[in-house]
Symmetry: C2
Amino acid sequence: MDIPSYISGYVDGEGCFTVSFSPRPTLRRGWEVRPSFSVSQNGDRCEVLQLMKEYFECGAIRPDRSDKTLKYEVRSIRDLMNRIVPHFRTHPLLSGKAKDFERFASICHLVAMGRHLTDSGWREIVTLAIGMNASGRRRFAVERLLEESGPEVIVSATSNGGDT
Amino acid sequence: MDIPSYISGYVDGEGCFTVSFSPRPTLRRGWEVRPSFSVSQNGDRCEVLQLMKEYFECGAIRPDRSDKTLKYEVRSIRDLMNRIVPHFRTHPLLSGKAKDFERFASICHLVAMGRHLTDSGWREIVTLAIGMNASGRRRFAVERLLEESGPEVIVSATSNGGDT
């Protein structure tokens, strides 16, 4: 049994690569961009979350909003870049989720380089995020991030986005 | 990347080991017992189902009740015994789902030996199934299978069940 491959299989089914944007008026751009990797599980079957925490040597397990589930989550950009992204390069996801992972990894790279502080980097991040397989609600919210920078940017995002 | 380990990880998150009982008046016991192994997936991300079908060299992929999902399913008791059960012996599940798999494997073994045709074998199968992590609805239906064989059997099932 090869634990790294097992973990990639588990994550291909149950894992989430998320890029969330939160309003932060004190930040230069008015928004905080936060990539995170997470896996949720019923609390009575949390062995795999513990295994992942030990394997990746980072992240935390905490109760999710509902009391019934636990979530293993990695938010630190350093841990994402040093531990999470390299794992899925050597042990890649085999489903269509791999495309989302590639966008996620690019966003992590841009954030780690400080590119989210520049106009072109910010547009690139938002455009990559729009192309990820998010719910309708999330996608709408992400598009607002570009609208607020001026209408001409919306066009740029749409024509470069993953859906066109 | 080790594909068998990846598959065990994926199944630990997304797979189902099911034992269903259907009324069949023409059968000796009035019920058919049918173990099956299945994994469901949104149709737009069905690569892993195809991978499993090729790896296990058995089973079928078909649309689930909803049009949006596909299901990879193995129902043949011979394929379950020869392909599915041995895989999860050499590449075991690491979550609490492993306990359900052990009960499932025991039921497959009993059915393959024809023990479901005997009173003691039938009670053993139903008792094992009751102990599996089923929904309330399913669990109630399984208990009916023993009730209909006479009330003394219910007691036996309860005291040997996984919850006591």
